[in-house]
Symmetry: C2
Subunit: 338 residues, 2 copies
DNA sequence: CTGAAAGCGCTTACAG
DNA sequence: CTGAAAGCGCTTACAG
């Protein structure tokens, strides 16, 4: 195989243009004064040599890397896939790259992935922390600019972007209780995660006399949602269920199917976080829609602002509203189970 | 805000351990001879100073970066989300990082994203090219180690990992024709993409006397699938449909619902690429399951092997088998439409 | 087994 | 407006 041709450097461009490498740098970075003549010759040489800057050299010297980490628990969860897309855009427009880190909601893997990210000396980190995360005040310093999205960490003074979890989940619960269900289950995520805690609070606020809340904690996956729902159908005596996220809601529906039951005739279901397929099927699934694109955009813009040094006096804690989208998966309980 | 404390470097470690920076480097990279005593002192100093290597410096000097690009058309498409997870694992185990590039199936954006990637001088590129990609033999050289996944580019001599598209899609078509449908539509992806071409070939191979194929090309999104299906329901006179991918299949189901029709009583549907929700709903969706995890693993292993210089004599073209998963979305055509 | 020197590609800080 | 010098953090290539 032929040796790969060596790539052009600033020095090659400088030589071809008859200027110094600093002048090339000035032209490329549009900083400092450069005569029109020199600029023209540099631009022409760049073109001719097919020169493309090496970020490694640039970042090393300037001690400013254009990399921003995005650490999430599962890119297969459409919430995080949408978040990635939404964050990437404003960062790209600001000249920043996103390094996606999949952490499987595992604190060990998260720590390893963040170590990896740290080795790139990134400009920032957007984090949706894993259950039992070890991310702490100490690490905030390592990453300089940190924004938490969706999930938060108690006692950490960093900007956050979240949905009005408690209120929105409470509204979903009320939808089921108000339909006449007495025993309603919330199939939540892992205990100790902020989203589980806040959604559970909303669920409990919807409880009043004669209403019986049932709570199950899960890993937040489809398989876990399915297992929890199977158990609830066997022994829980519930007639309505709230799903923590898209995978859990999917798992709940799988279990209902496998039991030979139907939504909403046998069980009513409300999901948290909307997904395209929920309006593609019979019955269409009632769900709380989160403004994920807005969350991503806000997080991206916060990071951009922070990398530009615009650290505000007050740490921003942005809250975006979820909205219940009523479809067909909620009905009255069967006669006799009421 | 307090100035960020300067991070420790090899020199700091060297000084603390009473050795030279090269010896530190030798210990960290486990290459060359180091006395047990020196090693111990270095390890201890690393620990004490909380030293973590700077990839930028390392990559710049060694001209070997641990970064591998993964360029896909849409991380929101579960196929690519699964692919990312599957590729990331073997690469991480080999000490490589994945930079995910979302290209929106847009050749302009793809070019821009690949330019960005090139600035990191990556060790490799795993690419699922955009429609109308401008990726060419010239660029293969830029990225040194390239593997194409799922979608291929004619005339490019690089390793590929694909499903047996033609055969698997043909089997899905046969499933519908064999159920008694005469006019069957394939809602495909963009014209000119290898997957569209190969799946269409499979579709046409399933056609015989009395069977009428209808083909629609789309952008491959949920919205495009919905629009195509709406048109087919209005004027196409088809009783069965094949969906190109998960988003298109979702869009098809949305259009069926919006028309007040039911699957499979009014229209039979088979999807290409399986998704969790397809077995969570009534009717469960019959689909061709692709071994995405295996594809990702194979692509990752190819990249790892290539970065280690193990370039095989023959360019590998790996083909993995799709499998039709029969569920409930296929039935006989309505009487009278047959 | 170890270190002094050099250099990866770039930009900063300085001097003109 | 421009360039010579230095250095970001690391590893290579060499000499001992």
């Amino acid at each position: 195989m032929p040796a790969r041709p060596k790539r052009a450097t600033v020095h090659d461009v400088a030589e071809a243009a008859g200027v110094s490498s600093q002048t090339v740098s000035r032209v490329l970075n549009e900083r400092g004064y450069v005569s029109e003549d020199a600029r023209r010759r540099v631009v022409e040489a760049v073109e001719r040599l097919g020169y493309a800057p090496n970020v490694l050299g640039r970042s090393l010297r300037s001690t400013r890397s254009p990399m921003v980490g995005l650490a999430v628990s599962d890119i297969g969860n459409p919430f995080y896939a949408r978040l990635h897309r939404a964050i990437e855009k404003p960062l790209r427009d600001a000249g920043l790259s996103v390094l996606l880190l999949n952490c499987d909601d595992d604190p060990e893997l998260e720590a390893a992935q963040l170590d990896l990210l740290a080795s790139y000396r990134p400009a920032g980190l957007v984090l949706s922390p894993a259950t039992g995360t070890r991310f702490s005040a100490r690490q905030v310093g390592t990453f300089e600019n940190v924004v938490l999205v969706s999930r938060t960490i108690a006692g950490l003074d960093v900007p956050t972007v979240v949905t009005n979890e408690t209120e929105a989940f409470g509204q979903a619960a009320e939808e089921l209780f108000a339909a006449g269900h007495r025993r309603v289950a919330a199939v939540l995520g892992p205990e100790g995660v902020s989203t589980t805690r806040l959604r559970e609070a909303g669920f409990r606020q919807a409880v009043s006399a004669g209403r019986e809340p049932v709570v199950r904690y899960t890993e937040g996956t489809s398989a876990a949602g399915r297992a929890a729902m199977r158990e609830l159908l066997d022994t829980g005596g519930v007639t309505a269920v709230l799903g923590f996220n898209v995978p859990v809601t999917e798992g709940i529906l799988v279990a209902v199917r496998e039991a030979g039951l139907h939504v909403p005739e046998d069980v009513s279901v409300v999901g948290f976080t909307d997904a395209g397929w929920m309006s593609a099927v019979y019955p269409a699934v009632t769900a709380v829609s989160q403004p994920v694109e807005e969350m991503g955009r806000l997080a991206g813009e916060l990071i951009v602002a922070m990398t530009r040094g615009g650290r505000p006096r007050e740490t921003p804690h942005l809250v975006v509203p979820g909205a219940l989208v009523r479809r067909e998966s909620v009905g009255p309980p069967r006669e006799g189970t009421r």
